[in-house]
Symmetry: C3
Subunit: 211 residues, 3 copies
Amino acid sequence: MQRDLRGDEALSFLLVGDLVGVAVFAASGASAAIAKRLDLFGVAFVGFVAALGGGILRDLVIGAVPPLAFADWRYAVTAILAALAVFWLHPQLARLRRTVLVLDAAGLGLFTVTGTLKALDVGVPPVGACLIGMLTAIGGGLARDLLTGEIPVVLQRDIYAIVALGGAILVTILRELGLAGPLPMTAAAVLMTGLRLVALLRRWSAPIAVP
Amino acid sequence: MQRDLRGDEALSFLLVGDLVGVAVFAASGASAAIAKRLDLFGVAFVGFVAALGGGILRDLVIGAVPPLAFADWRYAVTAILAALAVFWLHPQLARLRRTVLVLDAAGLGLFTVTGTLKALDVGVPPVGACLIGMLTAIGGGLARDLLTGEIPVVLQRDIYAIVALGGAILVTILRELGLAGPLPMTAAAVLMTGLRLVALLRRWSAPIAVP
Amino acid sequence: MQRDLRGDEALSFLLVGDLVGVAVFAASGASAAIAKRLDLFGVAFVGFVAALGGGILRDLVIGAVPPLAFADWRYAVTAILAALAVFWLHPQLARLRRTVLVLDAAGLGLFTVTGTLKALDVGVPPVGACLIGMLTAIGGGLARDLLTGEIPVVLQRDIYAIVALGGAILVTILRELGLAGPLPMTAAAVLMTGLRLVALLRRWSAPIAVP
């Protein structure tokens, strides 16, 4: 499997996917920071953390130090440029809200797949790998909300983390079956993205406890 | 010492103790999440973090990756089941408040003992090991409060962390004296649990600074 | 370079500088904790985190476990004593506000230099090392603000993190040029301290996004 996914073509494909996810999550962080009237540095920083916090947590937990966010400059630079773009362009971006939601759903799928696979690759058992895959996808958003003084939205409403968890389980099963090549993994990411978008369109939500 | 504590019997004993602590801390996290009207996922997540956040921090700091919370599925499953049980049963649980406080005090003792011993085992010097033992016990509660938008209660009132710190120092001294077998360690955990309960009953509190 | 900086004299010099930074950042954490009416333990804990949180994050990210804060007792003891001193003496300390701001600016310079150098020493590439150097300097303040329920001040106003980032870039360039001995590193720290103080005096601030 390793070889399949890390062939040159698959690698570039994964890298581009990863960087698109980073840019979108950075934009979500930057938007939250602007709404709280943080300054230029705060916008860049919250963008960086929203984009790369989940991956940094993943890498710390699996012992991959320094985390990719610090080891490969393309990640940090992509996150910071995306955040700065939002800083300068945000009045025009309001019209792009739908696009951002679609890209965010794509990021959810991509980060879950790469996070789960990386954890399995270093020998984390299945239950742990599923949790790590999910944390990769939701960790940045959690950190973004904590930095801007909010209770994390992913804990309050929306079918988001549960899509990541289900997707991580699917990825783990596929890999056990020897189906961890680019095609099934892309299908898993697309499935998660689709589920997330349907959940948004239909306004699905998880139950809260009876009082 | 290693051999004493890791004999099969002592190991099961420690594991059961650890899992009871995990379940109780998960219940405290779930209760806090329900009070903030988080959804089903939020309740499970805050429960997981309250139960396992301290141990994850401990394992990251001592370089034991992946942390036990991801390496041994029994920890995550115990935490999540306990949180879900609180989600479904919480109206009936109000009557159990006293039981929960006693179990929480037991978790405080157990997590401090295991956290301090693990740090000493990997060669962390005494002062650092005491701090890590204390962080193991209070880290989950800190994370629970941050996720639910509260200033951590352990920093505001209650004799809680100071019991953990004192207990960690006791564990370190006992181990230096060659007394790290199951019996003295259990005694240390029971002593901490007792102190915590007395502090609750007598409403002891730490001073705050004069204005 | 290693040898230059780690000669006995340079080492003591660096250690003293580091501990002064620790004490000052601990005092800032303790002050914030007192303002929120946290108890004695809370004041000591927030002081510890404000002083050592940035360094702990740095060491986790570069894989130096256990982090210096736990491996060398002088760091923890300095932080806790400084926090307790503020707890007991804080009414008299109001007069020292200017001194504290100068020392805090010195801490900013010192932590950026040591953080960046440590990251470069373990082989982190330049962009990552600059980010880690900056995080070493601002991480403690971020954690202090999160623990006391505030949106981090470093994200909202003040020229602070940007000085750290600029300083980290300077340190990286100097080291590439083979100029990482005590003298140029001290000059870099002094330059950052000076810039920070000028920014304070002139009330420089970073832009916020147009609404």
